[in-house]
């Protein structure tokens, strides 16, 4: 086996500290056909050419590159090996610049260290196998779970590139939370209007043919991996044909039964056949089977009789299970808000006129339960409003994090209350204020300059108490400086912590995607890769990953679309890197120790053969299962036990 040891001087970076002549002398004493050569700057064009020429001319079969960190130039030199006609995995780099020259003061010691590392590399290199990249066919279609801003933005972009997208949405409407908000921070734009271009394009735009929208539907099961997922979706009946329905709402008036409208947080009622709010899209009602008289066996057909379109209402619509093949999955299921009943001193649920911000958004909306009118339970206009920031946020007894969006909507409320009810006294109780960005300060400035607005900074949630004084309510408090006081509050608006959406736990289990300690979907890397989950092929966008505003959710949706479009290209195969774990089925005893250690869920268990196997698409080659396997049945390609021990022995020799 002819092995070349190529020593890079890296200018004087390496040669200043390591005596290459001494290395040459010692290396050439070792058994085997070894060639030694120094090259000044091996990563330069001249250096690469020299390396390639030397490998070819001398018929080298393997190469040790004694140079910089493999993080820097492993790929560079692997490509040179390929050009020279060698398998690129028959190369071993020795990081003598970062790990020796830059950290070892004495030249003699540095040379000794470099020699030991080079010896280790030679020992391991002799055992290395040539490895090949593999390719598999992929499905370029995409599943988007959740039809909020993040999911829709991504779906639309992917569809615009000519790719098929399946959108699964749990509710009967699309647009997520912002379509329920009449005005949005920071520029007081109307939510449904701002989103309309996206919603419209998804429903009937130029590329909507590439989008399959499944509302009132849920993902039940996912099998497979990146490039080839099979998704099982439960599609619940709408009982209304959304294509035929013209959205006239004639059907709703005669319906004899009603229930609390969950889209308005139970602040008003809706019929069994209903649109959650005026302007909801798709513009077709749905029938709530839980209260519809027909579901109770009664022969009511008032809605169908009122419908001017034939067969728009389908009484025999039924649940169906459908299967779709996709290559990537985008999770964009949004978030929920913290249950304010867990902070009893704020009076939520026990006193009238204490609302969460979500409820108050609907109260402000002209299509909401009060048609935009702000009034107390007794029908009076409130003279004083208290807005409690940080309700559950920045609180070690509730949620430790800052929810990030609350300050801005709180000052939006300030503006809207002031506009609707001039002269109303507004108190902001806050722990911290946060509104970074170039546009986000404006609403705060308005509030700060408004003479009817007062700010009270509190330290701890227990320093606030909402109390009833006769017919009036007041917030008694101890502020951050310890001063006690009381502020009248005919109405209270709580800004609850943003928390993971209900059901994101079970969805995570289906996808095998992990959650962080707060229950949000866990990103691959918080700063660098927040739009990817830890499972390859499963992407994250919007508040399911962390509390965020519309701007960030939209950007993350686009980021995920970017990953999907660049990673899965129709007609192109998926390349699989060969550094993966491999189970030797003959040696596997079926003990299943490996199953729980894989962070990428790449290991599955064949119950018939009673052996584990590694999915090489999902495997990232981390080696955790290799170390855990007590039977020595899992081999880490390029990091085999024999290679590692040979390397250790080479260092110690």
């Amino acid at each position: 086996m002819k092995t070349g040891v190529y020593f890079c001087n890296c200018g004087t970076n390496i040669s200043d500290k390591i005596d290459s002549e001494k290395i040459r002398e010692e290396i050439l004493k070792l058994p085997g056909e070894i060639r030694f050569r120094t090259i000044d700057f091996m990563c330069s064009e001249d250096g690469k050419e020299a390396l390639e020429k030397d490998l070819k001319e001398n018929g080298m079969e393997r190469a040790v590159i004694t140079a910089c960190s493999p993080r820097d130039h492993e790929n560079t030199f692997m490509r040179v090996l390929s050009k020279a006609g060698l398998n690129p995995y028959l190369m071993q780099m020795v990081s003598v610049r970062e790990q020796v020259a830059w950290v070892t003061e004495e030249r003699e010691k540095a040379t000794e260290k470099a020699l030991r590392y080079t010896n280790a590399a030679l020992k391991r290199l002799a055992l290395q196998d040539p490895l090949e990249h593999k390719e598999i066919d992929i499905c370029p279609d995409v599943l988007v779970i959740g039809a909020g801003p993040a999911g829709l933005k991504a779906a639309l972009s992917i569809a615009e590139s000519g790719r098929k997208v399946v959108i699964v949405e749990k509710t009967p409407v699309i647009g997520g939370m912002p379509v329920r908000y009449e005005e949005l921070f920071p520029n007081m734009e109307c939510g449904p209007c701002m989103l309309e271009p996206v919603l419209g394009d998804v429903l009937h735009g130029e590329h909507s043919g590439n989008i399959e929208l499944l509302t009132i539907s849920e993902v039940m099961d996912v099998v497979g991996s990146y490039g080839n997922f099979i998704v099982k979706i439960r599609r619940n009946p709408r009982y209304v044909d959304a294509d035929k329905c013209i959205g006239c709402a004639e059907c709703m008036t005669p319906c004899p039964v009603s229930a609390k409208n969950e889209f308005n947080y139970g602040l008003d009622e809706r019929k069994a056949i209903y649109l959650p709010f005026a302007g909801a899209l798709p513009n077709a009602p749905s029938i709530d089977n839980a209260i519809c008289l027909r579901a109770k066996g009664r022969d009511c057909r008032l809605c169908k009789d009122a419908c001017p379109v034939e067969d728009a209402i389908i009484y025999d619509d039924a649940e169906s299970i459908i299967e779709r093949n996709v290559g990537a999955i985008l999770v964009a299921v949004g978030a929920g808000v913290y249950d304010c009943k867990k902070i009893p001193n704020l009076g939520y649920g026990s006193m009238p006129d204490v609302y969460t911000s979500s409820e108050f958004e609907r109260i402000l909306a002209s299509n909401g339960p009060t048609e935009g009118e702000v009034k107390t339970a007794q029908g009076k206009r409130p003279k004083s409003v208290a807005i409690i920031h940080c309700a559950g946020s920045l609180d070690e007894n509730h949620k430790e994090y800052c929810s990030g969006i609350c300050c801005q909507y709180a000052f939006k409320f300030n503006h809207l209350v002031g506009k609707k009810l001039p002269g109303t006294k507004i108190y902001h109780f806050y722990k911290e204020l946060s509104f970074p960005g170039k546009e986000e300060f404006t609403l705060y400035h308005h509030a700060k300059e408004d003479r009817n607005t007062a700010f009270v900074r509190y330290r701890d949630m227990k320093d606030l108490k909402v109390e009833k004084k006769g017919a009036k309510k007041a917030v008694t408090y101890k502020d951050a400086s310890g001063k006690k006081g009381s502020a009248p509050a005919d109405m209270l608006i709580l800004c609850p912590a943003v928390v993971p959406a209900e059901g994101s736990g079970s969805l995570g289990n289906i996808l095998e995607a992990t959650h962080d300690k707060f229950g949000f979907f866990e990103e691959l890397h918080g700063r660098m890769d927040s739009a990817q989950s830890k499972i390859k092929g499963i992407y994250l966008a919007g508040a399911c990953q962390s509390p965020m505003d519309i701007q960030k959710a939209m950007s993350q949706g686009m980021a995920a679309a970017g990953y999907i479009l660049s990673g899965l290209v129709a007609g192109r195969k998926l390349e699989i890197k060969p550094i993966t774990a491999v189970v030797d089925a003959d040696r596997c005893s079926g003990c299943r120790v490996c199953m729980s250690v894989c962070p990428y869920k790449a290991i599955s268990y064949d119950t018939e053969k009673e052996v584990s196997s590694v999915n090489e698409v999902l495997c990232q080659g981390c080696g955790t299962c290799v170390a855990a396997c007590p039977a020595g049945a899992v081999k880490g390609n390029h990091f085999t036990t024999d290679e590692i021990f040979a390397e250790i022995e080479g260092v110690l020799a």
Binding site: S589, V597, A628
Partner: protein
């Protein structure tokens, strides 16, 4: 003397169980006799060392060498039998990997002598005599073989051709090896483990295995384990996952955990280390998200402390044959 190939069996530092295991092949012993001249076995026959010394080199076809190398005499016999045998087989866990005598590598020779000859409450040794290789007596100098600092395996002192694991080896596996030799079948390359499988005991264990998460370990007297479920999943330290197959999972069959006597599975260098790595992967200390390192360590310690005698549990049979070979003082 017949012209049959010669078979010998020797015990070094051993308990005698290996000899019993050979006899345990029952009536097949007659086949052994029909095919071999069983000519040396201090436990059963009266042949002496001098008789072996008198033989030509490679005069013995097969030697089954059991027992670990604890003393100078053990090594001397190993060297003699290596010289006289065409095939030298390390028979049983002691000669293969050190076994129970090998656990004494957790202490020094001096400590052993102190415990055995000086501190032992049933020993009366007022002049503090401990064994020494040479003792001057009026009649001259008495010599006894020296007691090594550490227990070694057979292959630590001579080249062994094959290794038959087990404490003791199972009779059907012993017979498999003898039969292969008798039938003249091709033996695997020298240095191989024979008379065993290549996988782990779990392969032969019929208990139902699921994904493993262990919250607490139990000693066998603390519970009566479910007979269907994997013992390890019930918190019993069963070494089966890190032990070579071949025994037929006898211990788990009778509701007792595997203690590891067949040594590491093929390709595993250190049975104890592998077991520790595996347990480290499946110990369940609950959700640690957000916990400090100290708290995580405390929880892990709480689980680990439910394993008494880790060295004696994980290295019960394999300490001298492991990477560290014993306590590094």
């Amino acid at each position: 003397m017949s012209g049959k190939p010669k078979l010998s069996m020797y015990w070094a530092t051993a308990c005698g169980g290996c000899e019993i295991s050979l006899v345990n092949i029952h009536e097949k012993v007659l086949d052994v006799d029909a095919n071999f001249e069983f000519m040396f076995c201090p436990c059963l026959l009266d042949t002496k060392k001098k008789d072996i010394e008198a033989m030509p080199d490679k005069g013995i076809a097969i030697t089954l060498f059991n027992g670990a190398i604890r003393t100078e005499e053990n090594e001397e016999m190993a060297r003699l039998l290596r010289k006289k045998s065409r095939v030298l087989i390390a028979y049983g866990s002691c000669s293969y990997e050190g076994c129970i005598p090998g656990l004494s590598n957790l202490h020094s020779r001096e400590d052993h002598f102190k415990t055995i000859y000086l501190d032992n409450p049933t020993v009366d040794n007022p002049s503090g005599v401990v064994p020494t290789p040479e003792t001057a007596v009026p009649e001259g100098t008495l010599r006894i073989p020296s007691f090594y600092e550490r227990v070694k395996t057979l292959s630590d002192v001579v080249d062994a051709d094959y290794f038959i694991p087990g404490c003791p080896p199972e009779p059907h596996q012993v017979w498999n090896v003898i039969e292969a030799v008798v039938q003249g079948r091709q033996l695997p390359p020298a240095g191989s483990v024979i008379g065993a499988g290549a996988s782990a005991v779990c392969e032969e264990c019929e208990r139902k295995k699921e994904d493993k998460k262990i919250k607490k370990f139990y000693r066998t007297y603390e519970m009566i384990p479910d007979r269907e479920k994997c013992l390890l999943e019930q918190g019993i330290v069963c070494m089966g996952i890190a032990t070579r197959s071949g025994c037929g999972a006898l211990c788990p069959k009778v509701n007792m955990p595997c203690t590891g006597c067949y040594g590491p599975p093929e390709g595993v260098l250190d049975q104890g280390a592998k077991m520790i790595a595996a347990l480290g992967s499946i110990i369940d200390i609950g959700d640690v998200k957000g916990l400090s390192e100290e708290e995580i360590a405390k929880r892990a310690d709480a689980v680990i402390s439910s394993i008494p005698d880790p060295a004696g549990t994980f290295y019960k049979y394999s300490l001298p044959g492991s990477i560290l070979k014993g306590r590094i003082s």
